[in-house]
Structures are given as C-alpha cells and as structure tokens.
C-alpha cells in the first residue's frame, strides 16, 4: 500500500523570532489553537528572566510578559484554551489566552518534595489532565484539572533511573501510563503495574527510545534503539506494521499522522533537520527541515511549526485522491473534467457527463466533489469543486441539497477563521468534531465578537445560543474595561443588547460586581426585566433595601422570604425591624411566619411600631389560649392597658368587662359547681337561668347593663325551656315587657302550651293582636281584632287561615268587613 501525503503551508508566521524556536519551551494547542513560547528558560540567571509569549496560530502576538515564577518544566493548553505552566515544584499555574493569571493548583506534597522530572499534559473526555514523573521515579496523575483528584500510580519494578520514554493512555474510561524501561514495557493503572509485550516487536531492539499515542488513543507507535518504528493498537493486541527508519539516533519528537477511518497507519518522526513519515510499506517518506520545528498532533494530521512557517502534513483524503489522481476515472474526477469543458463551452462536457450517467454514478460524483471541497484549503480549489458539484446537481432530480448547502456554509466560516488575522487553521474534519458551539466560544474567548456574531447569524444559530450568548460575553468583557466610566459602559451595553432575546443582565452585572464595580452593577441590574433575577446579586452586594424592594416588586413571595430570612440573620434586630417597617408586604409575610414560629417576635414587632391596637389584640388572643384563669386575667389586663394606649376606650372597656365576667364566673363556679368560665355573657345568663339562679342572672343583667330587650328575650326563652310557667307569669308581670307580649305567646306555642299562651294574648298591642290570636288558633278572636282595626290586609290574612267548612259564618263577616274597609 502506498501512502499519499500532502503538506500544505498554513501560514507564514507573523512573529519575528531571532533564534527561531531554539531554546524555547513550546506548546501549541490542538484544533488550531494558540501557541505559547517560553524563551530562554534554560538560562538560569536571575538577571535574565525568561519571557513568556503567546501567539495565535498565524504568529500574531496575543500576550507577552516576563516569567517571574519558578522554573517551568512544561507548558500545555487545556481544552478550553487556557495555558498550563507546570513548575519544577509541582505547582501548576493557569493563565488565560491573554496572559492573565487565573489560578494555580498543586500536584501534591509528594511531587513538591521530590520535584518534577517530566510532565505530560493530556486531553480526555473528562477534560484536561496532567501527568507527572517525579524525581522519586513515581507517577502522579490528575485526569481533570477542573476537578482535581490526584492519583499516585504504583511503582515500576526495577526502575533505577528515568525511564527511556513514557506516555499517557486513556483506556476503559481510565487514564493509564505506559512506561518503557529499556526493552521492558509496563502499563500502570490505579492499582497495578502490568508488564506488557508489543506483539511482533523486532528482537534486535534492546531499548524503546520513543513512543507516541494517536489523537484518539487507539494506536501506539514505538521507536526502538535499532531505528525500527513499531505501530499497533494501543491495547497492544495487534501489530499494524513495522518499518526501519535506518536512523539510530534518538529523535526529537514523534507523532501520529493518521486521519480517522484511514486504511493504513502513519507516524511522523522528527530529528534535527529531518522528518520521516512511516506507513505500512518499507519505504519511508522524508522531508527536509530548515529550521527547529515542533510537531502538533491533530485529529487528522500533524501541524509542523517552525520559526518561520506553519504547515499541515496530512494523508491525502480519499475523495481528493480519487479526483486529483493523475488520469483518475473516478466519477468525481470526470465531473470536474466535465465542468471544466463546460466552462470552455466544449461539447466534451456532454461526453464526460454521459460517461458518468451511464454508470449511474452522477450522485456519487457530486458527493465526491462536495466532500473533496471540504478537505481543500485553497478557496479557489474549493470553488472549482463546488461549482462542479453544482453543475452535476443540475442533471439530478431528487438529489438532497443539504450536504452541498451545509458544506458551502461550513467552508465560508472555515475560510473566515483560517484568515491570517484570526489564525485558527481548522480542517473541516476538526470543525465537525469541535462543533459550531465550541468554535463560537473560541472566537468569543479571543474577543472576536463581531466575527462570532457574523458566524452565528450566518449559520442561523438560534439567538439564545448564538448572538445573545456572544453579546453577553461581550458585555461581560466590556464591564471590566476600567478606563471607561460607569455611565458610558452601562449605556453601551444597553444599546447593544437592547433587542437581543434571552439576555441575562444579572449575569453581566455579576461580572461587573466581581471586577469591583458595584455602581455599574446596580445600573446594569436596572435593565434586567425580571426583578427576581436582580435579587440574589443585590444581596451579594449588600444592597439589601434595594433587594427587598425588588423582591417585592417581583410579586414572588418566595423571593421576598429569601431576602427577609437573609436580612434576619444579617442585621441586628432593630435594623431588621426598621427595614420591615418600610415594606408592608415583607412585614406581613414575616408576621405570618412569626405567628407560627415565633410568637414573641410578633409582640416585639408590634412594640417597635407602638401598635397598641395590635398588641391589645395579641394579648386577647393569647388570653384564650391559656387555660389558667389567673394567666388569662393577667393577659387581658395587658390588653386593657394597650387598648387605653391606643385610645380605644371601647375595646378597653369591653375587655375590662370580660375580666369582671371571668372573675364572676369563677366565683360562681366555686360556689355553685356550674361550668361557666369562658362562656359569653349571654351563655352565662342562660345557664344561670336554666339552673334557677335567677338572682345571679339579674345581677349580671344589672352589672353589665344588658339591654332590657335582650334580657327579656333571654329569660323568656330560658323559662319556657324549663317549662317554668309560674315563674314566667311572674316575670311577665314584673313590669311592662320591652319586647311586647307577642313573643310570650309565640314561645308558649312553640313549647305546645296553648293554655299559657292564651294568658298573654290580651296584653299584646293592638297591632299584633291578630297575629297573637292566630298563633293560639283563636279564629274568632283574630277576626274580631281584625275587624275592629278595619285593616284590609289583616282581614285577608285571617280569611286565608279560615277553613270553608267550619268557619263559614266568620268568613261572611270578614268579607263584609273587608268590603267596607276597602271602600274607606
């Protein structure tokens, strides 16, 4: 099998390095990420500090500053484009793309004691990891630097000095270390150190001098001191090929160059001035290097960065090979040819087309051209291929357009970000792996906001995930610009973000607050339409009164509660109450809470407000919760005092009455053994009368100035209830009844005593006579009374009660009287 490679120049580097990459510690992030250089770190003189410089992939400077911390052993980039600097003592410093220090963390005591010997920074689905070989020849590893869990790996048996080479593998959802000690190979995982043998490794090797793992961790390449490169799967179960490089000096770097789904393995080995690519066949491909270079392994190739150039070395993709191979008869190649002829207005176009169509491969041809366009870096070539595809499409019905359309879009975006000024040399394969979301994140991280927005708009990313998100990041960056005034920034932010959907001003305000601009944060919060969102930050900024009023504005009681409870713990009691006093909604909420949880606080609240009325009510309420009489009276006394303070004489008097009543009831309870305490005045009197304690009832009647009417009703009912007719008659004669005598009649009837009832009929007032007579069933009397009064409606009432059979005569009389009454 023959290996086809192509080397494309990505950029002529924009930096101006005097000594090239010599004596530099270099780290370049994958996916066309930034490049970090630490210059002169080998010179260990305090006078000349090393310089840390960060560039884009095209060599445009992003940051540069003198290195003031400890000795750096290794540089590396995280998956989110942060720079990691691993120091000799195991401290890892994290910087952002712009050289801003973010944080640092340590790789543990053991590392700092025995010092770092070698370091590797690796990426896995769990994030970015750091592996360290210490001076004590032990490995310490953290799989995810955002959630550090340090793991110390088991000892490697027989290891006396630094191993000849090692690498980190990710297998079975675990990070492992593969170590070569001479010709021996070990796999270290959490628990064990297992010796392994690569199948079919040529026996003449006495030592493995270099190794590298593919981007996907699936493949492994080993270089032996005999100059052989062994390539196989990383689980060491299968050998793919072995090639002799015929060079026995140890190389500077080695990397996999295989693209996904490729048929054959390929690895790149680099020595000073020489680059050798090994594949399946015996022959190797050699490139001459002019300059010190660095290999950056990518998903689908290797980037080669030198002091002056930036190149991409990759296996020629299948589609491109098919089309551009000399004398290719692949459908894509024919279509491209057909289109060329068509442009020339030659009839050969038709011949080519016919040839493709005869094999019914036209759709395949279109697909090939589209795919190949994706792999091409030159816009001109892309265009040629896409035009050919478009041309071919015209002769196809029902060809789904999505692939073509999305490829055009993708390429437009890719060409934009590959531009020298942006410097993100992504291949189409990488772009698809990375996703648009991440690309936008990276653009945002590089502060390329307008481009990011353009990309979002162009790709029609939903506003919420696209434009709005970019604008939010922009705003968060904007608020940190110290040189501009609060007003200017707030205005700029509000103007830009005005009509963007789903913007959270509170997030931006939080950023402003974090960078020490409280006033700006408050200004920004004003733009937040959802007042609920403003509250947590306001609390954080200790703007509690504002937080409280915003919470109330939101109408969300839970939010108000949150603030109230926060304030309760934060402020002293007095201030807390004062604040509540100005916010009735919060106050009533808190009162509700106190009613169940803290009765005493409730009292304090009323006290603070001098709300004597409420205090009075509070004591009254408390009084009937208490069982003991003394306590009740005492509480009522407090209520009386408060009511007087509140100038509510009525309530005070009533409460005093109640106290008197309670004492009276108590006394009587003791004397007469009747259950009375707690009864209302009415019930007390009723009870007394029903047990015959008339004197005492009378006393209450007088003492409490009970209206006559009430007392008469009450006594009347009580006596009738007891059927004490004698007493009732006596009572009726004591004085003129204030309620008249009709009630006497009715009550007696109700208790089925017509005899007694009749006694009172005569006493009833003339207006009620008819009713009284009717009540006792005396039709004659009723008729008499009605006729006497010459009242038409009364006569009618009596008439309606008469029965035609028995009261015949009476009815005649009544009708006559009615006639005269009407006449009058």
């Amino acid at each position: 099998a023959h290996l086809d490679l192509k080397k494309i120049e990505l950029y002529e580097m924009g930096w101006n390095l005097k000594d090239g990459l010599r004596e530099c510690l270099v780290a370049a992030a994958p996916y066309g990420g930034p490049i970090a250089l630490l210059k002169g770190h080998y010179r260990r003189s305090p006078s000349a500090r090393p310089q840390l410089e960060i560039y884009s992939s095209s060599g445009l400077p992003l940051a540069s500053f003198p290195w003031k911390s400890g000795v750096v052993k290794q540089l590396g980039w995280t998956v989110s484009d942060d720079l990691l600097c691993v120091q000799e003592d195991g401290t890892v410093l994290v910087y952002d793309l712009w050289g801003g220090f973010k944080r640092h963390f340590s790789m543990g005591n053991e590392v700092s004691q025995s010092q770092v010997l070698e370091t590797k920074i690796f990426h896995s689905p769990y994030g970015t990891g750091v592996a360290i070989l210490t001076g004590a020849l032990r490995f310490t590893l953290a799989t995810n630097i955002d959630d550090i869990k340090l793991r110390r790996l088991p000892e490697v048996p027989g290891l006396q000095e630094a191993p000849s080479c090692w690498a980190v593998l990710t297998q079975d959802r675990q990070s492992k270390v593969l170590v070569a000690n001479g010709s021996q190979l070990f796999i270290l995982d959490n628990t064990a150190c297992t010796p392994v043998t690569p199948p079919g490794l040529s026996p003449q090797a006495s030592s493995i001098v270099h190794m590298c793992v593919s981007f996907s961790y699936k493949y492994l390449a080993l270089l032996t001191d005999s100059g052989h490169v062994w390539m196989g799967t990383s689980n060491l179960k299968e050998k793919l090929s072995e090639v002799d490089t015929k060079i026995k000096t140890p190389p500077k770097q080695m990397a996999w160059c295989r693209r996904p789904k490729s048929q054959q393995p390929s690895a790149v080995v680099m020595w000073d001035g020489l680059l050798i690519v090994v594949g399946e066949c015996k022959e190797t491909i050699q490139y001459h290097l002019d300059d010190d270079s660095v290999l950056v392994p990518e998903l689908d190739g290797v980037r080669i960065i030198s002091g002056t150039h930036h190149e991409l070395l990759q296996e020629v993709p299948g589609a491109c090979e098919e089309i551009f191979k000399i004398a290719s008869m692949a459908p894509g190649a024919l279509l491209l040819e057909a289109h060329k002829e068509y442009e020339k207005e030659s009839q050969k176009a038709d011949e080519y087309l016919r040839e493709i169509k005869e094999q019914s491969l036209l759709s395949e041809a279109v697909r090939q051209c589209v795919e190949a366009a994706g792999h091409e870096h030159e816009p001109e070539t892309q265009k040629t291929l896409l035009r050919a595809a478009s041309f071919g499409k015209c002769f196809l019905s029902n060809f789904p357009p999505e692939q073509f359309v999305s490829m055009c879009r993708d390429l437009r975006v890719l060409n934009a970000v590959r531009d020298y000024t942006v410097g993100i040399p992504l291949t189409h394969t990488q772009f698809k792996q990375m996703t648009v979301q991440v690309l936008i994140d990276r653009l945002v991280y590089r502060k390329l906001y307008p481009l990011a927005i353009e990309v979002c708009r162009y790709l029609k990313t939903p506003e919420y995930q696209g434009v709005s998100r970019v604008l939010k990041h922009w705003a968060c960056y904007k608020v940190q610009q110290k040189e501009e005034s609060d007003e200017v920034i707030a205005k700029a932010v509000s103007v830009k973000l005005a009509d963007a959907a789903g913007i959270s001003y509170s997030e931006i305000a939080t950023k402003a607050y974090e960078s020490g601009r409280t006033e700006l944060a408050i200004k920004l919060l004003e733009f937040e339409p959802r007042s609920g969102e403003q509250v947590p930050l306001l609390l954080k900024m200790k703007k509690s009164p504002l937080a409280l009023s915003k919470a109330i504005e939101s109408g969300d009681t839970d939010l108000v509660y949150t603030v109230v409870m926060y304030l309760k713990n934060e402020l002293n009691r007095g201030d807390f109450f004062m604040m509540l006093r100005n916010q009735p909604v919060a106050l009533s909420l808190y009162k509700q809470f106190c009613k169940h949880q803290e009765q005493d606080t409730l009292k304090d609240l009323f006290n603070q407000d001098d709300d004597h009325e409420e205090l009075g009510n509070f004591y009254v309420k408390a009084s009937y919760k208490d069982q003991r009489l003394e306590a009740r009276v005492a509480l009522l006394q407090s209520a009386v005092d408060e009511y007087y303070k509140a100038k509510n004489d009525f309530s005070a008097k009533t409460t005093e009455d109640e106290m008197r009543l309670l004492r009276f009831q108590r006394k009587l309870e003791e004397e007469k053994d009747e259950q009375l305490v707690g009864f209302s005045l009415q019930d007390t009197m009723t009870t007394l009368l029903s047990v015959g304690l008339h004197k005492h009832a009378e006393q209450l009647y007088k003492d409490f100035r009970v209206p006559d009417k009430r007392f008469w009703w009450l006594k009347l009912k009580a006596l009738a209830e007891k059927e004490d007719w004698e007493e009732l008659e006596k009572f009726g004669k004591t004085k003129k009844s204030p309620i008249g005598y009709l009630p006497f009649v009715e009550v007696c009837i109700k208790h089925h005593n017509k005899y007694e009832a009749k006694k009172y009929v005569s006493k009833v007032t003339p207006e009620q006579k008819v009713k009284a007579h009717l009540a006792v069933g005396d039709m004659e009397g009723a008729a008499e009374a009605a006729i006497e009064r010459r009242n038409e409606s009364e006569i009618s009432t009596v008439l309606s009660r008469c029965s035609a059979t028995t009261d015949h005569l009476l009815m005649e009389r009544l009708n006559r009287a009615k006639a005269t009454a009407v006449k009058k």
Binding site: T557, L589, Q592, Q597, Y624, Q682, R710, W713
Partner: protein, 617 residues
C-alpha cells in the same frame, strides 16, 4: 325551562385533560418513593384528591394506608411516610416534630413531602430550622386546577381569601398566575385580558412573566377573553342570601368539591346520601340556575313526565319492552332517584325558607340594598343579635349594613358591637378588627377627613406617588361607595315593579329581582365596551387598579368567528358564589357566549365570614 342548553352555544373545551395531567404527575411522584408507603393527606385535599385519583389508583402505586393529617402523633408502622399537603408552616412543623420524635426513638424511616400546588420557601425554612432538612425529600405536585364542572374550575384554595386580603400575604399570587399559565399552555392563548383589583393586577403580572419565560405556543386558542376580578371589589354579592337553587343548596347543605351530602330529612330514610352536583345530573342541571320558588313546580312537572315515560310500558309488545328495558329504563331509574332527592331537598328548603323569619330576613336585605328604612333594619339586626338567631347571620347583616351605608354611625356601631360581644364572647373583638381591616364593618369617621386630605395631597404632588398615597389612604379607610355604584350601574331595579321570576329579564333574578351582582355587572359592562372606557367614575369608586391588555397572539380576523371568541374565562380571586355563576350563565345566554368560571374556591356568606373569624386559636 329557562336554562337548558340553547342552540348555537359555543362548545366548551374539554377540561378533563387537566385531571389526567394531575393524575399522571401524582403517580410519577408516588413512584419516586418505591415500595410500600403510608400516605398522609391534608384534610382539605382529600375531596379534591378523590376527584383526581381514587383509593384504588393510590393502592396500585404502593400506597399502603391512608391517613388524614390531624397534627397529632401518628401510629403508622410503615418505614416510608409520604405527606401530601398544602404548603402550610403549621403542617410542615408537625412533620418536623414527627421526624425528630422518630430520631429520638432511634427509628429510621424515609419521609417525603409532596407540596401542592407548589413549595414555599418558608416551608423549607421551617424544615431547616427544625433540623430535618436533610431527612426529608420534598417535591411539588403542580395540581393547580380542579374542574368541578363543565364551566367551573376551582383552585380549591379557600385560604386564598384570608391570606391575600386580610393578612396581606401574597404567596398565592404566583399560584393563580401558574394556573392561568397552565390553562394557556393546554388550551391556547387569550386575545384579551381585563381585570380589576390589586391582586388581579399582580396575578396578571405574574402570569405574564411566566409566559415570557416559557416557550410560546402558537395554536388555536380555545378562549377569547379573560377577566380577572378581586373578591374585595364586590363584597355585597357574597353577603346576600342565595335564592337560586344551587346557591341555596350550598347555603343550606354546603356543597363540598362539587358534591353534597343530603341528610335524613332530605332522603326520607335514616341514612345520608352523597350526590355529585354537576351537569351530568340531568335533573339538577335543569334547576340549578332557577329561583327556588320555581323549582318545586318544575320538579312536580318533571315527576309527571317521568310517570308518563314509565307508563309507556303499558301496551308494549315483548320486543318494545326489551328495547325499553335495555335503553331507557336505566336512565329513567337514575332520573327517578335524582328527582326524589331533589324533591326532598327542595321540600326541606321550603320548610326552612318560607317561614316568616326567612321572609323578614330577605326583606331586610332588600331594604339595605335599596337603602331605605335603615332604622328598621338596624332594629331588626339588633333583635337578631339579641335573640341569638345565628352568629354568622348576624355578622353578615352587620357587614351588609356597613357596606351599603358606607360604615355605621358611631352610636350604632358601638351598641351593636357591644350586643354582639355579649352574645358571642369577647374573642370577637378580633373578628371585628379583621372585618374593619377589610372594610367590611366600619365605624363612620367624624367628617370626611380622608377625602379632604387626599385632594390636598393630590394638588401638591402629581405623579406616581399620588397613586401610591391614595392607595395607602384607601387601604386605611376603604370606602365601599355602594350606593353611588348601585345608582351608576343600576344594580337595584326600581322598587314597586313586578318581577316575574319565571321569566328573568336580567341578572337580578338571582336575588329575587332585587339586585344585580356587582361583579357580574362589571363583567357585562367591560365586555360590552371592550375595555374600561366610559367607566372611569365606577373604577374610581372601586379604588381603581383596573386594566385591559391585548394578548400576545395577534387576533387575526379569520379567527374572530370561531367558537373560541365567544368563550370568556372569568377568574375570581378570593372565591365566587353559585349565584354569581348562575348570573353569568344567564348573561352568557343573553349574549350568545359562554363563561368559564375559574375561582380560588367556591364561597358563600358563611365561608367568607368564617374565614375572618378569630374566635379560636
């Protein structure tokens, strides 16, 4: 009969969907606690729960025993306890005590609290303060709406009224907002929203925010308009004695969650019978909106018809008889059973209500509404109190008097209050304080000091602050302005005119032709004017806070002719009465539209006043 279905009535949306949604979520929540568990249910959730998921369904999802929450120590032997409760501090505290008691006893159990319809931060605070936050898991059952009938949806939150209007606790506002949001998400958006009242405004705001947060669904709406109204806009209506059949049944027997228990005096047997009262009951659906004086006649006619239907049997051949038994008999039997129940109920009603007392009570109410012979009314009320007729009724009359008269004269107020306290105990001092706070029962202040102050302040400052100040003043002394409102809106028909209750001519029939419910009149006017224009005077007297908003969905012309445009959703915040529902049904029939009533709970005068009592701990 007057209120049977009319032709061309717009169809109502299918609300049983809401029940299904609630049931599915409840089952999901129960399954979150796998294994056998005992379920403790808040007492007032039992009936609503029964409408959603009966005991069989609960048992299917491994509920072992069911208990009512009684705030007492429990006797469950289960290792898993599940509490289905309203978010009340008291209940949560009780649960905390249980957990702590178990801890002391060294007993290990799993506890899960399901709050419905939502969780409140205050409840979680209690769990935290009691030190059991980590021991219990909490969840929310978003059971916002219980469809009581085809056109009645209830939030089943009786405490809404007291919490919101008396305690000033607005915690339920978001609940009401969420309920509307739920309706909207299931049945489509509304083209227009009207409302009046502080709470209505807040509910609308909360709803709007929820809408903005969530995704917008554009679909054919099933309602056209929404009207939100606060209970405190109209206190008069719920304070009046109800005289339409459904209202009267509620006043006398208390309808609970759409069903009523008829006692032995109605069933004329020795046991009580529980009946569902809704449009499924063919007899009831024909008489529910009728004035009770018509009901008896109708029922006897119905009985005759039924007899005729039974009589059809005679002279049938075998085939016909078979068909009759298969198709009709069951229906007839059912109708028969219901008919005899309703006859029993109306008999019992007539017995109570045609008595002299009731007539006099109604007469007094009507006088108060009309505003004459006030002195006589006061005497009547005094006697009512003195004779210990009924604690609630006396209070109701006092409130009615105060609202219609803009407060009581100081002398009357004090004497009546003293009488009342003598009758029912001094604890009612607190009840009176509550009633005053709500503006239900007030003492007239000497002079009109407040209005004077208001206008003075109004001259000094002229922007939002005035509104706020006026708000503050009006909450100090809420003027009912009933008399003026009644005049302007013609709520009380001219006296002396005969009113034929068999052929109602306006909504006043629900109060024997004496009064058109204010709330319903407002709705009628606003729908007619498509807004509040021209009603400035009225809204000013009602303390303002009115609004009319055009909904998010652009009402395209194409839709205007659909049924949906003729369906109006009315939400009562703080409860609504059956009389109001009957009045709206009448209005709908007159206007060729249908009203769907959403209420925080069904209320009546007793429930309204009982919520304000403060005579127990």
């Amino acid at each position: 009969m007057a209120h049977t279905e009319w032709k061309d009535a717009p169809g109502l949306p299918d609300f049983s969907l809401l029940k299904r949604l609630a049931r599915d979520q409840l089952i999901f929540l129960l399954e979150q606690l796998p294994g056998k568990k005992d379920l403790f249910i808040d007492a007032d959730l039992m009936s609503p729960l029964d409408r959603i998921a009966n005991v069989t369904i609960l048992k299917q999802h491994e509920v072992d025993k069911l208990y009512k929450v009684e705030l007492k120590p429990i006797v469950s032997s289960s290792d898993q306890l599940c509490f289905l409760i309203r978010p009340r501090i008291q209940t949560v505290k009780w649960i905390s005590d249980l957990v702590n008691a178990d801890k002391v006893a060294g007993r290990f159990r799993r506890y899960k609290i399901i709050f419905t319809p939502q969780k409140f931060y205050a409840c979680e605070t209690v769990l935290e303060e009691q030190g059991v936050y980590g021991d219990v898991t909490t969840d929310e059952w978003n059971f916002y709406i219980l469809p009581l009938d085809d056109d009645i949806l209830s939030l089943e939150l009786p405490e809404f009224f007291r919490d919101n209007f008396l305690e000033g606790d607005q915690r339920w506002v978001t609940t009401a907002g969420s309920a509307l949001r739920l309706l909207q998400s299931v049945y489509g958006s509304f083209s227009k929203v009207y409302g009046i009242g502080r709470c209505a405004k807040m509910v609308y705001e909360s709803w709007r925010e929820l809408m903005e947060d969530g995704e917008q669904r554009t679909r054919q709406p099933e309602f056209a308009k929404v009207f939100l109204v606060d209970r405190d806009v109209d206190f008069v209506t719920p304070l009046c004695s109800q005289v339409v059949y459904e209202g009267l049944v509620d006043d006398l027997f208390r309808i609970k969650c759409g069903s009523v228990e008829f006692g032995p005096d109605v069933t004329s047997s020795d046991k009580s019978i529980k009946v569902m009262l809704n449009s499924q009951d063919k007899v009831f659906s024909e008489i529910r909106n009728e004035h009770f004086s018509n009901v008896f006649g109708f029922l006897s006619q119905k009985a005759k018809n039924l007899q005729t239907a039974y009589d059809k049997r005679r002279g049938m051949d075998i085939q016909q008889m078979k068909a009759f038994v298969a198709d009709e008999l069951k229906g007839l039997k059912q109708e028969h059973r219901l008919l005899s129940l309703h006859i029993g109920a109306s008999e019992s009603m007539m017995k109570k209500k045609t008595k002299q007392d009731f007539q006099e009570l109604l007469k007094t109410e009507h006088s108060l509404l009309e505003g004459f012979e006030i002195r006589e009314c006061i005497t009547y009320i005094e006697e009512h109190i003195n004779r210990q007729v009924s604690m609630i009724d006396s209070l109701r009359l006092l409130c009615l008097l105060s609202i219609t008269e803009n407060g009581l004269l100081s002398k009357d107020y004090r004497s009546l209050k003293a009488q009342y306290l003598q009758s029912y105990g001094i604890e009612h001092l607190l009840t009176f304080a509550n009633l005053r706070q709500l503006g239900l029962l007030e003492e007239q202040q000497a002079g009109e000091t407040l209005t004077v102050m208001e206008s003075k302040v109004g001259k000094l400052v002229n922007d939002k602050t005035v509104g706020k100040l006026t708000d503050a003043f009006s909450s100090l002394a809420k003027k009912s302005n009933f008399r003026a409102l009644s005049k302007r809106l013609a709520l009380v028909p001219k006296s002396g005119e005969e009113y034929d209750l068999r052929v109602p001519r306006d909504m006043a029939y629900v109060f024997s032709g004496a009064y058109i419910p204010l709330s319903c009149k407002l709705i009628e006017q606003v729908l007619e004017r498509d807004g509040w224009t021209g009603m400035e005077e009225v809204t000013r007297m009602l303390n303002g806070q009115e609004f009319a908003v055009t909904g998010g969905s652009s009402s395209s012309e194409a839709r205007s002719k659909t049924d949906a445009q003729r369906i109006v959703l009315v939400m009562f915040l703080g409860g609504c009465t059956f009389s109001e529902i009957s009045a709206l049904r009448f209005l709908g029939k007159e206007r060729g539209c249908r009203f769907i009533v959403v209420t925080t709970a069904i209320t009546n005068s007793s429930r309204l006043l009982e919520a304000l009592l403060d005579n127990s701990a």
